[in-house]
Structures are given as structure tokens and as C-alpha cells.
Amino acid sequence: MSMDFLKSLTIAASGLRAQMGRMRIITENIANADSLATTPGGDPYRRRIVTFSSELDRSIGADVVKLGRVQPDNTDFLVRHEPGNPAANAQGDVKYPNVNTLVELTDLRDAQRSYEANLNIVTATRKMMQLTVDMLKG
């Protein structure tokens, strides 16, 4: 009877895992916000974006969330004229990563909020399971 509750917990856990993976990619982006190319004129760190997909978990017969492919953000790099920089090309232009820290922080907040929502489901489901067990006390 309480199998359904275990299913709810499994689904919420998949959400927690997905949001955790999203946070990991966001932190990677922020950490590499200033990672330049190692060769003169080369490309710097390219921002990465996570994707989510809904997948039917056959063992529980419900839609769990999975982290899809992590895709590169193909927007243009920021170009600054810095002739003295080791990563500068022949014209003295340096490419900076296409990471906007403000955007990443906003995204991080969103991931945190979704994580908390999933955690809330776990708490509520656990409470309901406890209530079921408490029926034994009479």
C-alpha cells in the first residue's frame, strides 16, 4: 500500500539529482568565467547549458526527470582589445568566455528553488508515511 509513497520519493529524488547536476554545470560556468585560451588567438571557455527531459521509468511507471545532454552555448565570445595579453591574436584582440555571471547566479537561484520544492515533496511524503504507520498505535 505504501508502495505509492516510495514511488513519490523516487520521483522527487530524480528531481533532486537533476537540479544538483544543473547546479554543477552552473558552478562550472561561474568558475570558468575568466578562463582564457591557452594559445594566442585560441577560443576561451565556452558556456555550457543543461537540458532536462522527462522519461518514463518503467520500474515505477511514472515520469521521472533526467538530465539530458549538456550543450554548448553558441553565442559569440566577448572580444576586448588587449595587445599585451598572452591569449591575444595577431591584431591584439582577446576573446573572453560568453559567461554572464549575473545570468548564472539567477539560474542558480532558480535551481535552488526547484531543489527546495523537490525536498518539500520528500518531507510531505515522509510525513504521510509516518501517519500511515501511526494508525497502528490506535
Binding site: M1, S2, D4, F5, K7, S8, L9, I11, A12, S14, G15, A18, Q19, R22, T51, F52, S53, S54, A62, D63, V64, V65, D110, R113, S114, A117, N118, N120, I121, A124, T125, K127, M128, L131, T132, D134, M135, K137, G138
Partner: protein, 129 residues
């Protein structure tokens, strides 16, 4: 008479099963809150009058009486009203909405378990006297 045949207990049991199924649907919604094109789902409300007629069926005392048309159909079908908002990625899950539903579901479940225990206590009382 098995304990599951007592109407109030079987009704409460069905109610609790419905709430368990609903908790699962709500968990799916929250987990998929960032999945593109995911549509929020919810269970169709449990019909009390239908439950009542199932627990206390109407007897046809005369074959000329019109048969009871209620019953049938899946009472656990997923349905839902219009979404509160659709986000640019085509997702209709609203965190606030889902949290309210989860809280409500938990309280209703608590009420059902309390009533179940209470009903059992009444039976115990009757046995003791």
C-alpha cells in the same frame, strides 16, 4: 464480516489510496518543473456520491424501476483545469500551485488516517461493552 467490508473503512481506504496516487502525480509535476513542454497533471477529484452509491448500492425492488446509471469509468483518471501560466519553454508547472496542493493533500490524508483510527476505536468500544 471482514473489516474491509465496513463501508466507512472501505471508503476511507479508497480515499487514502487516491491521495497516495495524487502525491505521486504531484511529485512528477515538481520533478519536471524545468522540463520543456511538460504539462502539469492532477487527478480528477474523488467523487463522494459515487463512492457512497458503491458502498451502499441502491436495490431495485421492482424490475420496472429505472436502473442506477452511476458507476463505471475510472475515478483515478488524470484531468486538470487550465494552467495558471505557461512559461516560455512550454512548461505549465507552477511551484506555488504544486506546494499548495501537496500541503492540502497531506492534511486530507492526515484527516483520513485520523478518521480511520477513530472508526476502529468505535468498533473496539462496541466489542468491549
Amino acid at each position: 464480516m471482514p473489516i474491509n467490508d465496513i463501508p466507512i473503512l472501505s471508503m476511507l481506504r479508497e480515499r487514502m489510496q487516491w491521495q497516495q496516487a495524487r502525491q505521486q502525480v504531484l511529485a512528477e509535476n515538481v520533478a519536471n518543473a524545468d522540463t520543456p513542454d511538460y504539462q502539469a497533471k492532477d487527478l480528477a477529484p474523488l467523487d463522494f456520491s459515487q463512492q457512497l452509491t458503491a458502498a451502499l448500492p441502491l436495490e431495485r425492488t421492482n424490475p420496472n424501476h429505472i436502473a442506477d446509471a452511476s458507476g463505471g469509468g475510472s475515478q483515478f483518471a488524470t484531468g486538470g483545469g487550465g494552467p495558471y501560466e505557461v512559461r516560455p519553454r512550454g512548461n505549465t508547472v507552477s511551484h506555488e500551485d504544486e506546494m499548495m496542493k501537496v500541503a492540502g493533500n497531506q492534511m486530507d490524508y492526515e484527516a483520513a488516517t485520523e478518521m480511520y483510527t477513530h472508526s476502529l476505536n468505535l468498533i473496539k468500544l462496541a466489542v468491549k461493552e
